[in-house]
């Protein structure tokens, strides 16, 4: 196979954030066939998921950043797709987290999304970031809150519908100690 773009690999206490690859296809199919997909534009069949996987990788090349496949260190399984997302049509760069069935309730989304936020601020030089959350997706909103984000209006997308905009703590907020309350 051709080399995947040199997508940086990040490591947290319990997770490895690495380049999405064909090896993630089955896990992605399961996610997009599950009820969880209702919060991310609806269910997708295998053909659509394959193109979506290609899109995840192409996003990295088009923009120089993207989402990582998040691997649970203890099992080696793919627990989700989490990272930085800003395809055309997005209101502004987003930190997004799609956590797969069976990996909820462990703080994985928060752990990976916090690593992604650090990468966005420290490596890419972002000065702000949002997360888009479907109104009924309470688990996802809880992740945003846990990271210290605050509701900042809404955004309506043709395909994804109305989404809450959560504004993350800025790099200045974080360096001023804003994160202590959430650490």
């Amino acid at each position: 196979m051709m080399q995947i773009p040199a997508i940086p690999q990040l490591e947290t206490e319990r997770l490895v954030l690495r380049a999405p690859a064909l090896a993630d296809f089955e896990a992605l199919c399961a996610f997009y066939a599950s009820e969880r997909a209702a919060f991310v534009g609806g269910q997708m069949d295998a053909e659509q998921v394959w193109r979506h996987l290609a899109l995840e990788i192409g996003h990295w090349q088009m923009l120089g950043y993207g989402r990582w496949a998040v691997e649970e260190k203890s099992s080696g399984k793919t627990a989700g797709i989490i990272g930085l997302w800003n395809p055309h049509g997005w209101p502004e760069p987003e930190i997004g987290w799609d956590l797969f069935e069976g990996f909820g309730g462990k703080g994985y989304a928060t752990e990976a999304a916090t690593a992604a936020r650090t990468y966005a601020y420290d490596t890419l030089g972002w000065t702000t970031a949002i997360s888009l959350v479907a109104p009924e997706n309470h688990a996802s909103a809880a992740v945003a809150k846990r990271m210290g984000a605050a509701l900042d209006g809404s955004f309506t997308h043709d395909r994804f519908g109305e989404l809450q905009v959560w504004r993350h703590l800025s790099p200045d907020d974080l360096s001023a100690g804003g994160m202590e309350a959430y650490a």
Binding site: M2, Q3, A46, A54, G58, G64, H88, G89, D158
Partner: protein
């Protein structure tokens, strides 16, 4: 018939290992800034200090008389500049909304990374302008890899589609070791049918599959040119 001889994982490295010159084109695993033909800038990622690709493994570039074909996944190729200027046409199942072209191009780039091959950007050598996309396309749900061609408006009417398609066919059959590839052509698309004939494809049966790109399509099969070796040719004469 035997198709699918080429697994996605074996198509590419062999193809770039042994560059050669032929009468019609040069297959060149070319180094950076090769011939100065790429006017596109470096990818945005690199400007931010994030090198996207291992440059020791260059992507293939094919050159014909008037065209250069380059993978849009090549880090030297600026897909944003080439395809996303105002007025650019739509490609590949793009819907009507203006954002869908970006999504399509990103998907086309990802196809290269997942398969090791994909649609080449077709660059007019005299101007450096990208005029289309031509190459093998094999998303999940396709019966087999398809040689697909899409020309932007400024590239039409010049014979570029057949020149690029022939160049890709020479590469697939001569370098990458493919046995066969089809094109799915709508029955009412006279221009595409003429193009398929021009590059030597033979019509097969009408075909339908769930995600087919248009109604009423027929498979047109491209095959490698027959090889005539000395002894076989002699036997042919005797019989």
């Amino acid at each position: 018939m035997s198709f699918h001889q080429i697994g996605p994982k074996q198509a590419f490295p062999a193809a770039v290992a042994a560059p050669r010159l032929t009468e019609n084109y040069t297959l060149a695993p070319i180094l950076l800034h090769w011939m100065g033909e790429i006017h596109a800038g470096r990818c945005a990622a690199r400007a931010k200090g994030c090198t996207m690709t291992d440059e020791r493994k260059p992507y293939p570039r094919l050159v014909s008389k008037r065209l250069m074909l380059i993978s849009p996944a090549d880090p030297e190729f600026d897909a944003n500049a080439a395809f996303l200027n105002p007025g650019s046409p739509r490609f590949i199942d793009a819907a009507e909304d203006p954002d869908s072209l970006w999504w399509s191009i990103a998907t086309i780039i990802g196809h290269w990374h997942l398969h090791g091959y994909g649609l080449f950007a077709v660059v007019e050598r005299s101007t450096g302008t990208t005029v289309g996309l031509v190459g093998p396309w094999f998303p999940k749900g396709w019966p087999e890899p398809e040689l697909s061609w899409h020309l932007m408006e400024p590239g039409k009417g010049k014979g570029y589609a057949s020149e690029a398609a022939q160049c890709v066919l020479d590469w697939l059959f001569g370098e990458a070791g493919w046995d066969s590839i089809v094109s799915y052509v709508p029955e009412e698309n006279d221009a595409s049918i003429a193009l398929a004939r021009r590059v030597g494809a033979q019509p097969e049966k009408p075909i339908s599959f769930r995600l087919q790109p248009a109604p009423n399509i027929r498979a047109w099969r491209h095959m490698p040119p027959p090889r005539v070796s000395g002894p076989q040719a002699a036997r042919g004469l005797l019989h």
